[in-house]
């Protein structure tokens, strides 16, 4: 079934058992992003501990948006902002590739499971929701 390329096992697993979900009590910055097309929402807390990323988040949304936020937070947590930048760029580029890129597994790890999403234009925003929240938060934290 063609749909299986979208709903890969990894995605459904993260949707059912999201990681880093539940907001930390304190954080250096907090951002709230919504997808005005569908109403999906995410709140993301970002802190740096000895320069290492600490993410927690909460949100409501479809499997793609929630799983993507979960994968993103587990992939980027514990890395530095310098390390996270290229991963973010790589994911965004994969999403915008209209199915022409396969993505670099070394860089994207579990996030590679979202490669099928790029063939469904209406779902790209879902996959990017958490990543864009992180990007926003990381810009804010660097501005401090």
């Amino acid at each position: 079934m063609q749909l299986d390329s979208l709903y890969q096992e990894v995605i459904l697993d993260h949707y059912k058992r999201p990681e880093h979900k539940g907001l930390s009590e304190k954080s250096d910055v907090q951002v709230h992003h919504v997808n005005p097309n569908c109403g999906d929402e995410i709140t993301l807390n970002l802190s740096l501990r000895d320069h290492l990323i600490d993410i927690s988040w909460d949100g409501v949304g479809c499997s793609i948006s929630m799983a993507s936020a979960s994968v993103m937070s587990s992939l980027l947590s514990g890395k530095t902002l310098e390390e996270a930048g290229p991963i973010l760029d790589s994911f965004v580029s994969l999403m915008q590739s209209k199915g022409t890129q396969t993505g670099d597994e070394e860089v994207l790890e579990d996030a590679l499971a979202f490669s099928g999403v790029s063939k469904y234009p209406a779902r790209i925003k879902c996959a990017l929701l958490g990543w864009m929240a992180f990007k926003d938060a990381s810009v804010q934290i660097q501005g401090r």
Partner: protein
């Protein structure tokens, strides 16, 4: 019982008039189009009318001294008669806009342009009344008008059955109310709002009633005289007509007093370097070269609907709705938003399925050739009130039939299996 309601129209026969149903979806699936609430498909007669205007009659209406300009004007103005007949209004009361959204904004901006002394002038202390079930197009323009004028925005709430709570009608429509703007049929719940008491109360306090008829005019017989409202808006593209054309109907004497919104060519009576005066209604509200081919296409669309019969279309949609509600009743994980009965409702059903987000449901149904809408349907306050972030919505039209309903019921069950078993 759905099974005892017979279909008044033969959907599969009607689909033959609509060329889009010849194509397949996601490989080799039949198109099961359950998203007419967003936009309807177009019959050949509409596509032809629009194309033929470009092929044979294209010229700027009301302007040239040549034969084409005459023919174009004639085609354009004939459509105005068709719309007037369709709604039961006077031909000079029909204003062509680009969409219902523009029609409603036209009103809100024109009210905002009214000087003190004009009956439409709004100021602090005045009230604008809407409802919790409005589409953003009939909410945001009024929010903004309230902000610009200092008037207060108030609204009718929804009860647990997806109906307006009219128990406090006199404290919502106060003596200070100047405008009551309301949807005829909810684009999310399918609820048809009873207008009699609202219109009576509004007129008692000297307010005008603006009806957003986007979801009613294409689907049931709507007669402006019988409804007693003062303004009405709908979109061509939801009425088997082209995109880029909408209608605003208003009572003649009100349109006469209402100041214009868009200024420019065609809407003037006389212009000097420093000052201008306005043409008579409806031209006063139709600045610029209008969407001519689309207006002509809308005429063809309304003729098509009239030939089929609006009462039959409504009955047909109710029969389909009944079948769907009954089918969903057997699925304990399906929650329906909106009226469960068939009285005062149209062919729109919004629902949620346990543990499956609407976006995922929509995606799965799409893989089966079924087109539904998911999200907040441009009625975010309503969706919030329902306590969800989004719903899945099926909306019916004349070209749907029982097989479409059954496909949806089966599709939902398949989605439950797909997402549940993995």
């Amino acid at each position: 019982m759905a099974s005892q309601i017979t279909m008044t129209l033969n959907g599969s026969l009607i689909r033959k008039d609509f060329p889009i149903f010849e194509r397949v979806i996601r490989g080799d699936m039949r198109l099961i189009y359950l998203d007419s609430g967003a936009t309807s498909q177009k019959p050949n007669s509409v596509i032809e009318a629009e194309a033929n205007f470009y092929r044979r009659n294209n010229a700027a209406v009301h302007r040239g001294a040549h034969q084409l300009a005459e023919e174009a004007t004639d085609a354009y103005e004939s459509a105005r008669f068709i719309v007037a007949d369709f709604l039961g209004g006077d031909v000079d009361e029909i204003i062509f806009t680009k969409s219902a959204t523009e029609s409603l904004n036209l009103l809100a901006y024109s009210f905002g342009n009214a000087d003190s002394g004009n009956r439409f002038h709004l100021k602090a202390g005045d009230r604008i009344v809407v409802s919790e079930m409005e589409h953003h197009a009939n909410l945001v323009p009024w929010q903004e008008l309230a902000k610009r004028t200092g008037a207060e925005l108030a609204w009718f709430s929804l009860n647990e059955f997806g109906r307006l709570d009219l128990s406090n009608i006199e404290s919502v429509i106060t003596v200070d109310t100047k405008v009551v703007a309301l949807t005829h049929q909810s684009n999310v719940l399918g609820t048809i709002n009873p207008l009699e008491a609202i219109v009576a109360r509004a007129h008692d306090v000297g307010a005008v009633v603006v009806l957003d008829a986007c979801q009613s005019v294409p689907h049931m017989k709507v007669d402006v005289e019988k409804l007693g409202v003062d303004f009405l808006a709908f979109s061509g593209h939801k009425s088997v007509g082209p995109t880029g054309v909408g209608v605003l109907w208003g009572r003649g004497e009100l349109l006469d007093e209402l100041p214009p919104f868009l200024f420019g060519g065609s809407m003037i009576e006389s212009v000097t370097m420093a000052h201008s005066t306005w043409a008579a209604v409806p031209r006063k509200f139709e600045a610029g070269v209008p969407n001519m081919a689309q207006v002509v296409g809308l005429g063809a669309a309304l003729n098509y609907l009239t030939t089929i019969g609006l009462d039959k279309i409504h009955d047909h949609e109710i029969a389909l709705t009944s079948r769907l509600l009954e089918g969903f009743e057997e699925n304990k994980d399906v929650q329906i938003f909106g009226p469960r009965g068939l009285d005062m409702r149209g062919g729109i059903v919004s629902f949620a399925v346990k543990d499956i987000h609407p976006h995922d449901m929509g995606q799965f149904l799409d893989s089966q050739g079924i087109a539904v809408r998911t999200g907040h349907h441009c009625a975010w306050p309503l969706t919030r009130k329902l306590g969800v972030n989004a719903t899945t919505r099926a909306s019916f039209y004349l070209y749907n039939d029982e097989t479409d309903v059954d496909a949806l019921i089966a599709g939902v069950a398949n989605a439950q299996e797909y997402f549940g078993s993995r």
